[in-house]
Structure formats: C-alpha cells, structure tokens
C-alpha cells in the first residue's frame, strides 16, 4: 500500500518536472551546507585530536595566561623559574624551548618559517617522547651548534630545490648546516625547523630566558595530579609570575569547545537555509494541492479515504525532501573533500575529512521528515476537500 502511494507521489513529482527540481534544489542547498560544514568541522576536530595524540599526553605545557595558541615571543620564563620547575618531584625533565619565526634562505629563495630553539643536551630524548624520528641524517647530539634539523615539508616542498643533509642554509642571515630531516609526522613539525637553543638565544637575544616550557612528568604519575602539584609549587615560589599550566587534555578540551561553538553557529546558519528549503516544499505542495483539486475529487469519488489523500501528499513532500537530502549529501561530501584537498594543497595535510555514515543516514531521514512536515498543512488541506467541491473545481 505504502509502495503504491510512494509510486503515485513519485509520478506526480516527475510530472511537475522543472518545478519539482527547483523545490528540490532548495533542500539540496540546505543539506549540502550542513553536511559540508559539519564534516569539515568534524575533520578539524579529528585532526586536532590526532595532533594531540601524536604530541603525547605525558607532558604539560606552561604557557602565557589566557593564551590558547603557541607561546608568543612576548612571553618569557626566567632561568629561576625553569630551575624551580625542574626540581619539583613529579617532574622527570623539562624541554626548554624558544619558539620564534624568521626568514629561511636557501637556493636564493626566502621563506618565512617557525623555528624552535631546542636544548641539544636532551639529545634524542625529547624527540623520542613525541615519537619524532630523523628520516635522513640524525637528531641533535649534546654539544651541537650551528646545525639545523628541518621538517619534512620544509625539506621537500618549501624551495624549488630539495633541501638535503649537509646543505648549508641561512636562518635570519646566520649560516647553519643541515644535519637531519625529520620523517613525516603529519603535524606542524613538518613545517618547522629546529636549531640548538644556544643558537636561538643568540639569534633572538634571549640569553637568560626562554618562552616555552614543556614539562615531562615521571612515569606512573597521574597527569592531572602532577599538574596540581606543579601549579601549587610554582605559585608558592613565583606568585607574581604570570603563567598558565595546561595539560594536553585541557588544551584539547578548550579547542574542542571553541570549535564546537563555531560549528554550532555555522550549522545553525546552514539549518536556516534548510528551513527555507522546507518552506519551498510547503509552497510547492500547496500549489500541487490546488492544481490537483479535481484529481483529489476523483480519487475520493472512487474510494480514497481522507487518510489516503493525506498520505499521498505527505509522501510526495517527504520524497521531495529525501531526494533533496540525498543529492545534498553527495554535493556536501564533494564540497567537504574539496576543502580537504584545498587544505592539503595549501600545506595543511592533517585536515582529515571523513564522512560518517551516521551523518549520512541522519541527513536523509532528517530531510525526509522536514519534507513530510512541510507537507502536513497542504496534506490536511487536500484531505479535507469535499468530493463534490473538488469535482466541481475547474
């Protein structure tokens, strides 16, 4: 029975041709917008989670207050502060970092890159903790100076000529020798260069301070617990110092909540366009009821109950919605993947676009329901027509 009605409704959608398509396009735009925005948003969230997983969760970052991004050049941590942090009992060791950016010159080309001044005395230890390896050449060894390790993208994509181990390269006009190239990590590290901390101190005139501290917590100690201890100790000694202590988990939560809010707003806007699409269906269904008044009369004369008529019109509206939804999903998915490819082309390969089946199924059901709901009023109007009046309608 339902199948008969669906076929019946389908015939009527087909019969209206262009007008049906225009109605469907209204839904397509709404659904495509929602799918692409939600998928890209989800991709960003996945990407960020992956990044955090790769960076490890055994460490704690000390960053400037109220700054959720990377530590800035404005922010400084004194040597006393570092010594104190190192001495706290839950702390295994600390990465003293200077994060800066500057001009990298190679093969007569100049590129602006992010650079990390890294404590070479730690040698491979800090890299091992975040699972970063040398793809070519080597990592730092104690006593290194005037050397550089470049990220995978820096080596292969930044310059016309590929950067190789043993090449000379200028950073902020100082000559460095490339000793290693990181293997690809899929994180921001691919786009960075690493130089010894001592060289960074000289280049950026930071002889007695640094601007980021990554605290590695001893094995077997709960990270949240460790954070409380460290914060307590540091506040006792440096109550006038401005700093925030963040575990990766907290940073992740913060970023996710911001992303969630952005996604919510964007999806809300997309929903408005779906709403406009739904009004389009309603409008088109009212027209359809009017056009087929006589048909409704005939169907009632030959035995259609009010509910039969209502179902036929609801099915028609629902099918219109579902077709729009299905096409919208396809277009939305294509859009989302295009954004992913574009991001990759512009150097952000980590935006992982995945289309979740649950979203696809939800979108089809949602657009069918939206369609059917838009059809409720027209269907009631159709069902309520009196057969005599409907038959007399010209």
């Amino acid at each position: 029975m339902i199948r008969d009605y669906a076929k019946f409704s389908w015939e009527s959608i087909r019969h209206r041709g262009l007008r049906s398509w225009l109605t469907i396009i209204g839904v397509v735009i709404g659904v495509a917008a929602i799918i692409s925005l939600v998928t890209v948003g989800q991709g960003m969230q996945n990407a960020i989670e992956e990044q955090f997983e790769k960076l490890g969760i055994r460490n704690i970052r000390i960053v400037p207050p109220n700054l959720q991004g990377p530590p800035s050049a404005m922010f400084t941590l004194s040597n006393d502060f570092i010594d104190k942090t190192e001495s706290i009992r839950v702390v295994d060791y600390v990465d003293k970092l200077i994060t800066e950016s500057g001009i990298l010159e190679f093969n007569n080309e100049e590129k602006f890159v992010n650079a990390i001044g890294y404590d070479v005395e730690l040698a491979e230890r800090g890299f091992a903790d975040i699972d970063v390896k040398a793809g070519e050449g080597r990592l730092f060894i104690p006593g290194d100076s005037g050397v550089m390790i470049v990220g995978n993208n820096v080596a292969s994509d930044f310059f016309d000529k590929k950067v190789s181990v043993k090449n000379s390269i200028l950073f902020e006009s100082k000559k460095f020798k490339v000793v290693g190239i990181f293997s690809e990590t899929g994180t921001e590290i691919d786009n960075r260069i690493y130089i010894p901390l001592s060289d960074a101190r000289e280049l950026f005139n930071r002889l007695n301070d640094i601007n980021a501290l990554v605290v590695h917590v001893k094995d077997g100690i709960d990270i949240e617990n460790a954070q409380e201890i460290i914060e307590g100790e540091l506040l006792r000694s440096f109550d006038d110092e401005d700093f925030d202590i963040l575990t990766p988990q907290q940073i992740l939560e913060t970023i996710k909540s911001i992303l969630g809010a952005v996604q919510g707003v964007v999806a809300g806007i997309a929903t408005i366009s779906l709403l406009v699409g739904a009004i389009g269906i309603m409008n088109s269904m009212f027209t359809s009821v009017l056009e087929r008044t006589r048909d409704i009369g005939v169907m009632k004369a030959v035995g259609a109950r009010n509910s039969d008529i209502a179902i036929i019109f609801l099915a028609e509206a629902g099918i219109t919605g579902a077709i729009g939804g299905a096409i919208g999903i396809i277009i939305g998915t294509i859009l989302a993947f295009s954004v992913g490819f574009a991001a990759e082309a512009f150097g952000f390969p980590f935006l992982s676009i995945r289309v979740e089946y649950i979203i696809v199924i939800a979108a089809i059901i949602f657009s069918f329901v939206i369609g059917a709901l838009s059809g409720v009023l027209p269907a009631i109007q159709a069902a309520k027509l009196k057969p005599v009046d409907a038959l007399r309608y010209e």
């Binding site: 006589r294 009632k300 035995g303």
Partner: protein, 229 residues
C-alpha cells in the same frame, strides 16, 4: 420476485448557501432504485440533477432526509467510511471523464482497486481485462491526453467497473463526445445492464433517457413524473 433496493432516497432536501441566499437544490426528493434496474433521471439544467447525482453517489450529505446505500444510512457514516463504501458499491462515469492525467489507462482503471487494498498484480490483471472488454486492449499504457474523447470515456467505464460495484452512476456520459461515439458508450452501458449491473444515468437528453427501463423526471428538485417500459 421482489428485488432488493440498492439505493433509496427518502425525502431528501439539499440547501446551498449562495452568499446571503439559500438555494434549495433538492426539495424532498424520494427515489428507490432496485437491483438490476436501468434508471434514467432526466431533467433540464437547474433541475437539481447534479445535486441528485451527488446524493445518489454518496458524494455529499443531504441537508434533510435520508439516503440509503444498500442498508447503510449514509448520513450516519463518516467521510472516510463513506469513501470506502462508495469505492466498493458505486462506479462513476462522469461527463468530463475525470481521468488522472499523470496515469496511464491501465493505472487509471486500477486506481479504485488500489484504495480497496487489492494487490498490484491482481490490479494489473483486472485492469487489462476490463480495458480489453471495452475495446482498448491496445491502449493500456496510453495517457488520457493520447486518447480520443470516446476512448477516454471507455477508460472511465472500465474504471467504474474495476471494484465490481453494484451500481454504475453515469452523469451525462455522452455529453462531451460526438453522437456516434455516444452510441457506442450507450451500448456499453446497456451491455453492462444485461450482465446484471444496476445503472443510473443522469441526463438532460430525452433521446438518451429512452434507453433506460425507467425514466424519472426531475424538476425543481423533486420527481415530477416518470415512465416505465
């Protein structure tokens, strides 16, 4: 042998509101049609023919009086109950054919069966047989727009028969077709009557009415006389 009454109208009044004025289309119409009869209701325009047809066909409720379809009093039935009974007991043949333009001849004929819940394969088979019986076996998949007036009316007659109703109610069945084709339509109706169907034909045309066994003359909303063969 006393025949069963299939349709009985008992002092039926129907009043329409036309703006401020009440128009009395039927003023105490009484009529009984028995099983197997061929009855013509003849009247000039404005005599209440269409309203009478709506009452007989259970398409509308009377303002006053009773309409019995078999032993159901239609005034006591809901619209949907009425639709089901109408679909089963009455086959309509309209002056304007009233076929659904989107559907093929076969789908039009199968439509009343769909609302009675007949399975698709049975519907198709019966629709094909019915169209063959009205001489349209080669037009099964044509749409109404691809058929002549006479052919469309034959599709409508096949549709009227699809639920094997007791009564065929024909409203000016030849009104929109030429006289020669009209003859063929009348012949079909007479054939159905011979096979035992009750036929009620509403017309303004006395020549057409004469094909019936019984003529009831309608004027100003009441039966004013009649004749019987």
């Amino acid at each position: 042998m006393a025949k069963n009454s299939v349709i009985r109208l008992d002092n039926v009044w129907k009043t329409y509101k036309m703006g401020e004025v009440d128009v009395q289309a039927l003023r105490g119409l009484s009529l009984e049609v028995n099983d197997g009869e061929f009855v013509a209701i003849e009247g000039p325009s404005g005599s209440g023919k269409s309203t009478a047809m709506n009452m007989i066909g259970a398409l509308d409720y009377p303002s006053k009086g009773s309409v019995y379809l078999g032993n159901h009093d239609i005034t006591k039935l809901s619209e949907s109950q009425l639709a089901v009974i109408r679909g089963r007991k009455i086959g309509f043949v309209f002056q304007q054919f009233n076929l659904l333009a989107n559907l093929s001849a076969m789908e039009n004929v199968a439509l009343p069966m769909m609302f009675q819940g007949v399975s698709p394969s049975k519907r198709r088979e019966r629709a094909r047989n019915l169209l063959e019986s009205v001489g349209l076996g080669d037009r099964l998949n044509h749409r109404p727009s691809e058929l002549s007036g006479g052919q469309q009316q034959r599709v409508a007659i096949a549709r009227a028969l699809s639920n094997n109703p007791e009564v065929i109610l024909a409203d000016e069945p030849t009104g929109n077709i030429d006289s020669k084709t009209g003859q063929a339509i009348i012949a079909l109706l007479r054939g159905m009557h011979r096979e035992g169907k009750t036929i009620i034909m509403i017309t303004h045309d006395h020549k057409l009415a004469k094909f019936a066994d019984r003529i009831e003359l309608l004027k100003d909303g009441v039966i004013v006389g009649g004749s019987k063969k």
